[in-house]
C-alpha cells in the first residue's frame, strides 16, 4: 500500500494532446511541489507504455478516460474520486469540419483527416470512436499537436477534414473569418466523458481522499491552475459517491459512450 506522502499519479488522455508532455510534467512538478501533497506525476503518450507501467509500478492515482478505467478497473480496484470539467461540463465532443465542396461523410472515404492526438495513440478506442465512426476505415488520420493545427491545415487546404472542438473553430473564425468562411461542420462525435481521477488498490481510502481534496484545491493557486489547464480542464470537483456501485468507475456509462 502506497503512503500518501510518496504517491504517484499516472495520466493518460489520448484525445487531449498538450503540445509537449515534458512541459506538462514540469507544470505538474511545480504545482504538486507547491501543494505539499507529496504526489509525483507521470504522463503517458502511448497506451502501451501506460499498460506496461501499470503491470510493474504501483500508482496511487490514475487520471484516465472511462475506457481505460473499464479495461483496468477490476484489476486495479479503481474508485472514482474527482470529476474534471471543461466549460462547465464533464463531457465533450468534437466536430468534423471540412470544406463546402464536401457534402457527405462518404466524400471523405479516402481523405486525410487532421486531429489532435499523440502520434502513437490515434487508433485507441476514444480517438477511434470519434474519428472512425465518422469517416470510416479508409480515411488517413494525421495526428497534430493541437486543434488549431488541424484547423489551419484545413483552412489552408492541406488536409480534407479536421476533427476539432467547436470552441477552437469559433476562436479561429473570429481571427480569420475569411479563411474559415469555406469551412462547414459535417458531423460530430458522440459525447465522450472527460477523464476522471481514480484511486487504485495501492492506496487506502483515507490517503486517497486526502490527495483528492488537495488536487481539487490546486486551482486556487496560479501554478495549480496552469497545471489543471494543461491537463485540458478548467477545474476538478470531488465526486459525491453515494453507494459502492457508483464508486467503481469501470462504469458502463463511459464504456458505452466510447463504443457507440
Amino acid at each position: 500500500m502506497a503512503r500518501a506522502s510518496d504517491a504517484e499519479l499516472f495520466f493518460f488522455s489520448p484525445d487531449w494532446a498538450p503540445g509537449n508532455l515534458s512541459t506538462l510534467a514540469e507544470a505538474a512538478d511545480r504545482a504538486l511541489s507547491e501543494s505539499g501533497l507529496g504526489l509525483s506525476f507521470q504522463a503517458f503518450a502511448r497506451y502501451e507504455d501506460l499498460v506496461g507501467q501499470l503491470s510493474t509500478a504501483r500508482p496511487a492515482l490514475v487520471l484516465v478516460p472511462g475506457w481505460v478505467a473499464a479495461e483496468h478497473g477490476e484489476n486495479l480496484q479503481l474508485r472514482a474520486l474527482l470529476r474534471p470539467t471543461r466549460d462547465g461540463r464533464d463531457t465533450y465532443h468534437k466536430v468534423l469540419m471540412t470544406t463546402k465542396g464536401v457534402s457527405s461523410l462518404a466524400g471523405l472515404a479516402n481523405a486525410t483527416v487532421a486531429a489532435a492526438a499523440h502520434p502513437g495513440s490515434i487508433d485507441y478506442p476514444a480517438s477511434a470512436s470519434g474519428i472512425r465512426s465518422l469517416v470510416g476505415d479508409g480515411a488517413r488520420i494525421l495526428p497534430v499537436p493541437k486543434d488549431i493545427d488541424a484547423l489551419l491545415a484545413l483552412s489552408f487546404g492541406q488536409v480534407d477534414a479536421a476533427l476539432v472542438t467547436p470552441a477552437q473553430f469559433e476562436i479561429l473564425a473570429r481571427v480569420n473569418p475569411r479563411g474559415t468562411d469555406n469551412l462547414v461542420e459535417l458531423g460530430r462525435t458522440p459525447e465522450v466523458p472527460l477523464p476522471r481521477l481514480y484511486a487504485t488498490r495501492y492506496i487506502d481510502d483515507d490517503g486517497a481522499n486526502r490527495l483528492a481534496a488537495g488536487i481539487a484545491k490546486l486551482s486556487s493557486s496560479s501554478k495549480g491552475r496552469q497545471f489543471i489547464n494543461l491537463l485540458g480542464f478548467d477545474e476538478v470537483k470531488l465526486l459525491e459517491i453515494t453507494n459502492e456501485e457508483d464508486h467503481v468507475m469501470a462504469d458502463k456509462t463511459n464504456r458505452n459512450e466510447v463504443e457507440r
Binding site: E26, T112, V144
Partner: protein
C-alpha cells in the same frame, strides 16, 4: 489528399564531400544476411532534433524500420556506405532526415520511394523526380500570421526588416498579409549596422516586429537592441526560435518536428500503395508556440486559458517555464 503550395524546383547537388561516409547506428530486429522489407530511416547526423520526427514516424507507421546515421569518415561516400549498410534489406521506402540523408538515399536506392523531412533548402538540394516527396521545414507565412493574430488580437501592422537576399520572404509576407487584413511595413538593410535605424523609422507605425532568419539582420547586438526597444515602444517582438523568447521576444512559432514524422509516415504509405501518384512536398502541419509571459504582461496582452492552451511553452516572469 494532401496538397502543398510548394513548387517542385531545385537541382541535385553532387554529394557534398568525398571524404564522408556512413556508420550504421542502430537497428531494430534485423537479421544479417536475411533480406528484410521495411523502411530505412536515414539521418544526416546524430542530431537531437532528428529524434522527434523519427520517433513519431515509427509510432505512426505500421511498418518495421531500421535506422542509419551518417557521420563523417574519410574512406567512403555516403551512398556507397548506405548501400553496404542496407545490403541485407529490401527497403519498401526510405525516410530521410536532412538533405544529406535524402541525397544519399536517392543515390543508393534510386527506385525506392523516398520521403524526406528536416531538409533546409530542400528545393535547391533534392530532386523530386520519381517517387520522391517530403515535408518542408518552413511553415507557410499565412499560417504564421494567423497564429500571431491568435495571440495578439489587435495586430494590424507588422514591421519586417530584411536584407536584399530575402525579397522572396517579403513578397510572401505581403501576399499572406493581404488575405488576413494585415499590412506589412518593410525596410531593407545592406549591413547589420543599419537595423537600428530601420526600426526607428517604422516603430511608430507598427504593432509588431517580425524577425526572420536573415544573417544580416539577426546579430546579438541587433537582437538585444530590438528586444529592448520593442518592449519600451509597446511593439510585439515576434521571433522564430524559442531561444529568442527566453531572451525577451514575445513569442516564437516553429514547426513541430513530431508532426513532420507523422506526415512522413502517411506519405510513405501513399508512395508505397500508389507509386505512380506522387504527392507534392507538404508544408509542416503542426507548430510549436512559445510565449514569454513577462513580455506579454509588459505589452498588456491577456494570457488567458485559451492562449495558454495554444502555447506549447509559456516562459513565466520568474524565468521558469511551465
Amino acid at each position: 489528399m494532401i496538397r502543398s503550395n510548394w513548387n517542385k524546383r531545385g537541382q541535385r547537388l553532387a554529394l557534398l564531400a568525398a571524404t564522408t561516409a556512413l556508420l550504421m547506428a542502430a537497428s531494430m530486429a534485423l537479421t544479417v544476411g536475411t533480406a528484410v522489407a521495411g523502411v530505412i530511416i536515414v539521418k544526416s547526423d546524430d542530431l537531437p532534433q532528428y529524434t522527434p520526427p523519427a520517433t513519431a514516424f515509427r509510432q505512426a507507421s505500421k511498418r518495421e524500420s531500421v535506422e542509419v546515421v551518417l557521420r563523417s569518415r574519410l574512406d567512403q561516400g555516403d551512398s556507397e556506405f548506405l548501400k553496404q549498410a542496407a545490403s541485407t534489406m529490401q527497403p519498401s521506402a526510405v525516410f530521410a532526415l536532412g538533405s544529406r540523408a535524402a541525397i544519399a538515399a536517392r543515390e543508393a536506392f534510386p527506385e525506392t520511394p523516398l520521403v524526406f523531412a528536416m531538409a533546409l533548402g530542400w528545393s535547391r538540394n533534392i530532386t523530386t523526380d520519381g517517387a520522391t516527396t517530403g515535408v518542408s521545414v518552413e511553415l507557410p507565412t499565412a499560417d504564421l500570421f494567423v497564429r500571431f493574430k491568435l495571440i495578439i488580437p489587435g495586430l494590424h501592422r507588422i514591421g519586417l526588416i530584411t536584407s536584399d537576399s530575402n525579397s522572396d520572404t517579403v513578397d510572401e509576407a505581403r501576399a499572406a498579409a493581404s488575405g488576413l487584413g494585415l499590412e506589412i511595413l518593410h525596410e531593407t538593410v545592406g549591413h547589420h549596422d543599419e537595423v537600428a535605424g530601420a526600426y526607428r523609422r517604422m516603430r511608430s507605425r507598427i504593432d509588431a516586429l517580425w524577425m526572420v532568419p536573415d544573417p544580416v539582420v539577426v546579430t546579438r547586438e541587433n537582437f538585444d537592441y530590438l528586444s529592448t526597444r520593442c518592449r519600451n515602444d509597446g511593439v510585439a517582438f515576434l521571433a522564430f526560435s524559442e531561444n529568442f523568447v527566453k531572451a525577451g521576444a514575445l513569442l516564437s512559432v516553429a514547426p513541430s518536428y513530431s508532426t513532420m514524422g507523422s506526415q512522413a509516415a502517411l506519405l510513405v504509405e501513399q508512395l508505397i500503395t500508389d507509386p505512380n501518384n506522387v504527392p507534392p512536398v507538404q508544408s509542416p502541419l503542426g507548430a510549436k508556440l512559445v510565449v514569454n509571459a513577462d513580455t506579454a504582461m509588459a505589452l498588456g496582452l491577456d494570457l488567458n486559458a485559451t492562449t495558454i492552451h495554444m502555447a506549447d511553452r509559456v516562459i513565466t516572469p520568474t524565468r521558469e517555464d511551465f
